[in-house]
């Protein structure tokens, strides 16, 4: 009786803590959304306006009328396509490393070490190279760069997931009459589906959030939303309405992706954690 009482109190305290933390983390997002619906007066009002009088959409309308919103589309294209490329290529490389021990024991370590290069260290050489090849401000240029930059991460993660698959599952399929490629498709992919999705999400988010590469390697044609936002910080004044509306547009895709993939994301991350 007494212990169950104590348990209830414990549980209640835990819920309170969870709610408090959630508010703490959600508050900036709430604030961002609210600003995007406010008029200029409401934005600068003191005391702050918690809930705008009307949820007016003029900040968004401006973005769409001026074509600025297309930069979100650019982000979607470069992040999406580079994620697909990195996942396909990376998974194949990872399979080769995991199962054929390609390059010996240490190649995998070398590959992941490539991921530790700070972008700023390579962005200017890459820029010069891109100028030479005429790839600045093209989809192809950004996609290539994001694919290359994400490849080590994908290879490393997928190698871990693949090594966790009991090898006899693959061997049984080989004996049953499947080719290696079929084994990868019919056994490896389904066996590490959660890992694939989790890795793809992280890869996508990296490309989505990137600023430095996009800043240096784009002009107007394929500028991503992260670059576009910076244009609203002016010398005299900042366009907070536009900044917040653009930020909301940039947040929504990630929000939906994570919401839909939550199941895989959680399972994929915990799979990786067990492996260490």
């Amino acid at each position: 009786m007494k212990t169950s009482h104590r348990k209830k109190i414990k549980l209640a305290l835990r819920y309170i803590a969870v709610v408090a933390l959630t508010i703490l983390f959600l508050f900036p997002i709430y604030w961002l959304f609210m600003i995007s619906f406010k008029t200029a007066n409401e934005i600068y009002a003191y005391p702050p306006v918690w809930w705008p009088e009307t949820l007016q959409l003029s900040n968004y309308r401006v973005l769409f009328e001026d074509g600025d919103a297309a930069t979100v589309g650019n982000s979607l294209i470069v992040a999406g396509v580079s994620t697909i490329f990195a996942m396909i290529l990376g998974t194949i490389c990872a399979y080769s490393l995991a199962r054929f021990k390609t390059g010996g024991e240490h190649l995998a370590n070398w590959i992941i070490s490539q991921r530790m290069i700070p972008p700023i260290a390579i962005v200017f050489p890459v820029f010069l190279l891109y100028v030479w090849f005429g790839m600045v401000d093209t989809y192809f240029g950004l996609i290539l760069l994001y694919t290359a930059f994400n490849l080590p991460y994908v290879i490393w993660m997928m190698r871990g997931y693949i090594m966790d698959i009991p090898i006899s599952l693959e061997q049984a399929a080989l004996v049953d009459g499947y080719t290696r490629w079929q084994v990868v498709w019919k056994v490896v992919f389904p066996m590490c589906r959660a890992g694939l999705f989790a890795t793809a999400i992280f890869t996508f988010v990296f490309a989505w959030n990137d600023f430095i590469f996009a800043l240096v390697l784009t002009r107007t044609d394929v500028a991503t939303y992260t670059v576009q936002v910076t244009h609203y910080f002016g010398g005299q004044s900042n366009f907070w309405g536009k900044i917040s509306a653009m930020s909301v547009l940039g947040t929504l895709p990630i929000f939906f992706i994570v919401a839909f993939m939550q199941k895989y994301l959680v399972r994929g991350i915990s799979l990786g954690a067990v492996k260490g």
Binding site: S168, Q171, A173, L174, V175, D176, Y178, T179, P190
Partner: protein, 362 residues
């Protein structure tokens, strides 16, 4: 014609020499058991047959065709793995049909064959389930179903029963034997369990440290082991090895006043070992109570009982012969009373003699 022929096969894992020159011929339709201690290279040998491991030397022929460089999928082999190797994201039906689909079998035929195989294994009511919803024994049946549903030239089993509990293992042993009889296919079965080997095999191939120690029918190996290792490996409880010395008509047991009479028919076999050390191998069941067996082929011993282990139908009695511990298998009624000293006879016609230097039987 031999269905499978292996010629001086060698396999290395790095510097580790796992298979050290194996020659083996397996006729069509035979049930061969590869048996040996864990780590002796049984699985490796099986996997080279399947094409899952490359070989470093030698050759493997199936139906007269050298398959060294043939991919596993083209060898026409079916294999049951130790840990079942079932796909968790597929139903039992799909797991069993998996190999048929690789060969582009028509849908109707797949359904017929899966139905037939699952009926043979009494898993036809489980076809819609997923592997996680099955017990160990059911998983094992599905794994076997996956192999037998296909028309393969050779069926390989790698310790398929080692994850099951004892009772289920007994049951499945019989089941696999029955399948072999019904299908009449060449089967190669790997196990470390000598009872499985003895009960299931048409032929046993006993491996030791990457080499074949002896092969033959189960009774052949049991009654006429070529080496001390084989003699000790087969049989439970295992054979007693007694150190002794050959003198004229007897083997005197070291450090004791016991001796065993050598029967007439064996005498000339042992002449070359006269006055030399010898190991006498006696199976526990070849001891009996002295008063029961009173014949010239029996040799009498009087021993001090150290331990009695009744199992119901038989009782195992532990005692010493010289320095060597020994076990005799007696009928429970032979042990009435609490005598610590007991008269035993040894059936000398069944005893084997081992050269202690070469460890070969004489």
């Amino acid at each position: 014609m031999a269905d499978l022929k292996i010629n001086s096969l060698h396999k290395y894992y790095g510097s580790m020499h796992a298979v050290k020159g194996v020659d083996l011929e397996i006729p069509k339709g035979e049930f061969t058991v590869l048996v040996g201690q864990s780590g002796c290279g049984k699985s490796t040998l099986l996997r080279t047959i399947a094409g899952l491991e490359e070989i470093d030397e030698g050759s493997i022929e199936i139906d007269g065709e050298v398959v060294n460089d043939v991919a596993p999928k083209d060898r026409d082999i079916a294999m049951v793995f130790q840990n079942y190797a079932l796909y968790p994201y597929m139903t039992v039906f799909d797991n069993i049909a998996f190999g048929l689909r690789a060969r582009k079998t028509p849908k109707v035929e797949i359904e017929e064959k899966v139905a037939e195989a699952s009926r043979m294994l009494s898993i036809d009511h489980l076809l819609e389930r997923y592997p996680r919803q099955l017990s160990g024994g059911q998983l094992q049946r599905v794994a076997i179903g996956r192999a037998i549903v296909r028309q393969a030239r050779i069926y390989l089993f790698d310790e398929p029963l080692s994850n099951l509990d004892a009772q289920l293992r007994d049951e499945m042993r019989g089941e696999i034997k029955r399948l072999h009889r019904e299908l009449g296919k060449t089967m190669i079965y790997v196990t470390h369990d000598q009872i499985e080997a003895m009960t299931m095999a048409d032929r046993i191939v006993l491996l030791r440290d990457g080499k074949i120690e002896q092969q033959g029918s189960p009774l052949d190996l049991y009654e006429r082991p070529a080496t001390k290792y084989v003699a000790g490996f087969l049989g439970s409880p295992s054979m007693n090895f007694i150190d002794g010395m050959v003198t004229e008509n007897k083997v005197t047991i070291n450090n004791s006043n016991h001796s065993l009479d050598i029967p007439e028919q064996i005498k000339n076999k042992l002449t070359s070992h006269a006055n030399k050390a010898i190991i006498v191998g006696i199976r526990p069941e070849h001891f009996s109570r002295a008063d029961i067996a009173n014949h010239q082929q029996y040799s009498k011993l009087s021993v001090n009982i150290e331990l009695v282990q009744p199992t119901g139908s038989r009782s195992y009695v532990t005692f010493r012969l010289g320095q060597n511990p020994a076990v005799a298998e007696l009928r429970p009624q032979d042990l009435l009373g609490h005598n610590t000293t007991i008269e035993l006879s040894v059936d000398m016609s069944r005893v084997i003699y081992i050269d202690p230097i070469t460890e070969m039987t004489i």
